[in-house]
């Protein structure tokens, strides 16, 4: 396949998916090697992100996805109101941060750090799909272990947990 049509194929795949698509998935769908796909993807990103265009290819939650450029969102909001979740409370954000950096973690361990009960907050975060139960701790009572989800990475716009800001060291 031509280089030109290769990038066009990837563009079509990513556009149609409407969600972050991993390189592996793209390679499989396009019947290409991962290395070739990655190469074509770099080209596609250059074409789209450096061109004078209204859309943007972003690396989010382990995949690539098309977005409208941020500067146009006020105009888009005149066209239709995108479904926005209300902002999280400080308590919820603190809990989310603890889970993001310390996962897998139990409820009791979170409560130890925050000094307050977090059961209600955990329910909220779970309802929002930001965290999920990822197993049970091998400890008395086999408490639930929590971890963050793909939705979390999407909602903070990060590609992976490694992209979270560094945890400052505690002397």
């Amino acid at each position: 396949m031509h280089e030109q049509s290769l990038t066009a194929l990837l563009e079509a795949l990513i556009f149609a998916a409407g969600r972050p698509v991993a390189v592996k998935e793209l390679a499989q769908a396009a019947d290409l090697s991962v290395a070739d796909t990655e190469l074509a993807l770099v080209q596609l990103k250059q074409q789209i992100n450096n061109g004078n265009r209204g859309v943007l290819l972003r690396q989010v939650a382990g995949g690539v996805q098309f977005f409208a450029r941020a500067e146009y969102s006020p105009f888009i909001k005149r066209l239709f109101q995108p479904l926005e979740k209300p902002n999280l409370s400080q308590a919820a954000l603190e809990t989310l941060a603890i889970i993001a950096y310390r996962q897998p973690i139990t409820r009791t361990e979170i409560e130890l750090i925050r000094g307050v009960r977090v059961d209600a907050v955990l329910v909220t975060l779970q309802e929002r799909g930001l965290i999920t139960e990822i197993g049970r701790k091998d400890a008395p009572g086999r408490p639930i272990l929590y971890g963050t989800t793909t939705v979390f990475l999407q909602s903070v716009g990060l590609n992976s947990l490694q992209d979270l800001p560094c945890l400052p060291s505690l002397e």
Partner: protein, 250 residues
């Protein structure tokens, strides 16, 4: 402090403590802790009208820990048999709290940063983004326009419901067996004999029936009256003994 303190503005006791230390432009260290103990305690006691112990419980736990630390600072000499060990325990306790507070602050700040990321991410609208529709529009509705007058008039309509006089069931005085006995005696003075059913009247209550029957039995036991029946399960006739014979007497 001019502004009103509300504990629920803080996400937890450590949040409040961090806020106090930062407000005083202090570092998180043992000395800072002792400087803000009084402030912390006064904040928590300001909220003492909280009826929900769950809401203040965790704040109170930290308040006691802080007070303990302050006492230990004010009374540095420990009178335990092993003074050295006692002292190091105190230091551990304070150091532990300081360490804890530092750790907490890290996550509090990271939480804020995550919040900022989320805010930022909202400006990127992805392909296939779900628009608000139908019922979900309800979420962004403004609160209904309610004036103070509306609330007051609603209350005046509802208020009587809350002070309704309690209904009280009043029972007529129930004569006791003793009272029935004396009533029967008076009756029998004027009347040679009487029918039990007639005496009770129409539809007597079960209670009156039992009381009168007990009165009759008691008078009979005391040998003051004569009691007889014309037929089995028939009416009971009662006559005073002093009055003498009765025609119905078999």
């Amino acid at each position: 402090m001019a502004y009103q303190v509300r504990l629920d503005n803080f996400s937890g006791p450590f949040d409040l403590l961090c806020h106090l230390i930062e407000n005083a432009e202090l570092d998180i260290c043992a000395i800072s802790l002792t400087q803000v103990v009084d402030q912390y305690v006064s904040y928590v006691t300001l909220a003492e009208d909280y009826t929900d112990l769950d809401a203040v419980g965790e704040f109170l736990v930290l308040a006691t820990r802080l007070l303990l630390i302050k006492t230990q600072v004010l009374l540095p000499i420990t009178y335990s048999s092993e003074p050295d060990q006692g002292e190091s325990d105190d230091i551990d306790d304070t150091e532990e709290l300081v360490q804890h507070l530092r750790q907490y602050r890290v996550f509090r700040d990271l939480g804020r940063q995550i919040g900022k990321f989320m805010e930022q991410e909202k400006t990127y609208i992805p392909v296939g983004c779900v628009p608000v529709e139908g019922d979900e529009q309800v979420e962004v509705m403004n609160p209904p326009h309610i004036k103070l007058y509306d609330i007051v008039s609603a209350w005046t309509r509802l208020a009587p419901l809350f002070n309704q006089p309690q209904t009280v069931t009043i029972f007529p005085d129930r004569p006791t067996v003793e009272e029935e006995i004396s009533a029967l005696k008076i009756r029998l003075k004027n009347q040679p004999s009487l029918s039990f059913n007639h005496y009770l009247g129409k539809n007597p209550t079960r209670l009156r029936l039992v009381t009168v029957l007990l009165a009759v039995l008691e008078l009979w036991r005391q040998d003051n009256i004569r009691v007889w029946q014309v037929v089995h399960f028939g009416d009971i006739f009662v006559a005073s003994k002093e009055v003498g014979t009765c025609t119905n007497n078999p």
